[in-house]
Symmetry: C2
Subunit: 281 residues, 2 copies
Amino acid sequence: MNKTIAIVGIGLIGGSVALKCKRAGFAAKVMGVDNNPDHCKQALELGLVDEVLSLEDAVVAADLIILAIPVGAIASLLPGLLDKVNTQVVIDMGSTKSLLTDLVAGHPQRGRFVASHPMWGTEYSGPTAAVENAFEQKAVILCDVEKTDADALDTAHQLFNVLQMRIIQMNAKDHDVHAAYVSHISHITSFALANTVLEKEKEDNAIFEMASAGFESTVRLAKSNPEMWTPILMQNRQNVLDVLNEHISQLRKFKSCLEKENWEYLNELMSNANQIRRIIQ
Amino acid sequence: MNKTIAIVGIGLIGGSVALKCKRAGFAAKVMGVDNNPDHCKQALELGLVDEVLSLEDAVVAADLIILAIPVGAIASLLPGLLDKVNTQVVIDMGSTKSLLTDLVAGHPQRGRFVASHPMWGTEYSGPTAAVENAFEQKAVILCDVEKTDADALDTAHQLFNVLQMRIIQMNAKDHDVHAAYVSHISHITSFALANTVLEKEKEDNAIFEMASAGFESTVRLAKSNPEMWTPILMQNRQNVLDVLNEHISQLRKFKSCLEKENWEYLNELMSNANQIRRIIQ
């Protein structure tokens, strides 16, 4: 409790973390760091942060530094940041973990870093998208915790308890495989579905009059920010390719059923898919 | 107002229509017809219908007959039903329209039939899934209305006004093309995504611990009933195949970007998909 927290990247994720840490009394003070002057202004106006500082000044003043920026920027920033860290704890919130943990594997201050991935997000971005109880009941994955100092890991547990998240620990390689299956592929299918329908709309602009809730739910992730998703897919390229190949081959089974009018097998494919009920409510 | 309504199929759709028609005072009496004795019992207990009758008895007693059964069953039942109809109005709620309108195109009682598709549903089924205000603000498509008698069309407009839907009219062929794009393909992608992940789960059962909201929204339609969806995909086979081929080719573009590490084009594909914001909120 009573931490001085630096949030690097005051957008959807950083803003939501800031809000909860302040309201729950976990943070005595929240300092915001962001390259985007509009975001800094909004974060101050919305009361997400108490002040805006440069990264250098914030690092010196903080007990806890939270990186909530795109994973490409985390990769660029993390090694140099650890160079400047003494007793501070650095927690990242990126959607990929292997490249980051590999990057700092041999760093003398590796123990101060906690590799984390809170499994929450929306298709919106920026400080105005922040939500106080965003993370409640969601999972957070902590990776390669044996490389983290005990006190730093303890601070991470405190943070995620304040955010009311379910903490799961696994190694970074497994995380990236799983993330490809339960998050990254969903984004690709949504982006591709949006492009499929937008392509058709060029010749037929009445098509969206009848868009339904089912369509909206499968396509809403297509509103996600490419500046965030390009580096995620870069860093998790091989796992995502494996899952995408499997997904295309599953779609081809549906295609083949339709082509051959094999309705029995089509019914079987859908019945098998119904087993997802075991997993999601 | 004060209609005597027969609802054939008292499930998610039929039950929701029944509930609203009773509560809004549009129906003086709602008679339920269903092959499933459990559904009949539940519909009576939930107060969705006033009594349960055979189809024959309900047709004789009704002013308005609503068909809310799978589209294969509608196709089997509709011509014989119109044989028995005099002044009654028959409205179907199926997700495909061309085969049905073709089937009864030359029927002497064609004028009593209104081909409709209310654009609402959930992944759940049965009377217990019924929701009173389900259809509010949603679109309903009425097809080939010039083949329907003026008074029957008027009754359909009354019904869908009571359900508070936006009425859109188009021909059955256009409807089926559009439905393939904004509904049927979403279901196939969800079913295929569920199968992709369930396949992986066989070797790695920890994978779902981290399933997120994004995953849930893209995969929830995979819980849909295969007995409902097989006949829809049978009847709209050619349109669905066209859209599925286009969707697979859109996915291949993402695959190619990942294979060739063409991050600029990947970013462009996602930015293009963001245009879906124009369409869905």
